[in-house]
Amino acid sequence: MQGPSHLMLSWYFAEAADVATPRDRRIVAWAGFAPDFDVLAYVAAIAWYGLDKDKAFENVWQVVHHRYTHGLAYVVVVALVAWWLATPGAARARTAMLAAVACGVHNFLDIVAGGPTWPIYPYWPFSDSSWGVPWSWTIGEWPNLVVLFACLAGALLYAKFAGRSPVECFGDRADRWVVRIARQQREATAAPGSGRMRWIVWAVVALVVLAVLAPLGFKPGG
């Protein structure tokens, strides 16, 4: 499943569980995305191999993706980090538990919808046994695309009707900006820093588009 789908589904999961504060919803959402932080190794490898994507894929991405961050041990680490970051109080343990669940669900989604050649390693570092299924949907198959576009459409509709959206993951101001657009409200006066925020939002949109297109083999150079 695409990274943006993981992030949005985890945010919806936090929202469905009535997580009270934006900060804690963000924590649960990013915990649901967290197993894909290993993409940083791929980005670093592309830079290391002088933008040779194929070499980086073969030597790094194919080796590290799903191995170290898609397992039970990583879920525990994510839960501990979530507990440390969560708003102190009675709901702190609940936020950490929901973050662990979101991270665990990510692992499941990658078994079913990550492609047959990308198994997870549920018991690493204690065991190197992998778990994947031959019938797993590849990243470009219709169920993954349906989930992605349903999440995106849902984000705009939820922003319009409920006044917040998964864009909350990137900050409260970014979310308010999207809500204003979804509700077709105009700003009375330009808030200080709104120009910078516009650039941040467009950068996020560009990153989301890249995150969707890159696994599909998009090659702008032809």
Partner: protein, 64 residues
């Protein structure tokens, strides 16, 4: 809403079991129809319950 939340919770328990318990208990069954059937069912029930809760929350949200 409460019933949907219970359904979502049960599906999450099933998902965690299918992800972290099943591979240890029945490692030879990865190509079996049972695992496939349960996994695909759990995935769509999870997504449907999540969508239904979000839909209801959006409908009940106060209009500003």
């Amino acid at each position: 809403m409460a019933a949907l939340r219970v359904l979502l919770g049960l599906t999450v328990v099933a998902i965690v079991a299918l992800t972290f318990a099943w591979p240890a208990l029945a490692p030879a069954s990865r190509e079996g129809a049972t695992y496939q059937w349960l996994s695909v069912a759990a995935l769509w029930i999870f997504l449907a319950a999540l969508a239904a809760i979000i839909w209801l929350k959006a409908c009940r949200a106060p209009r500003t």
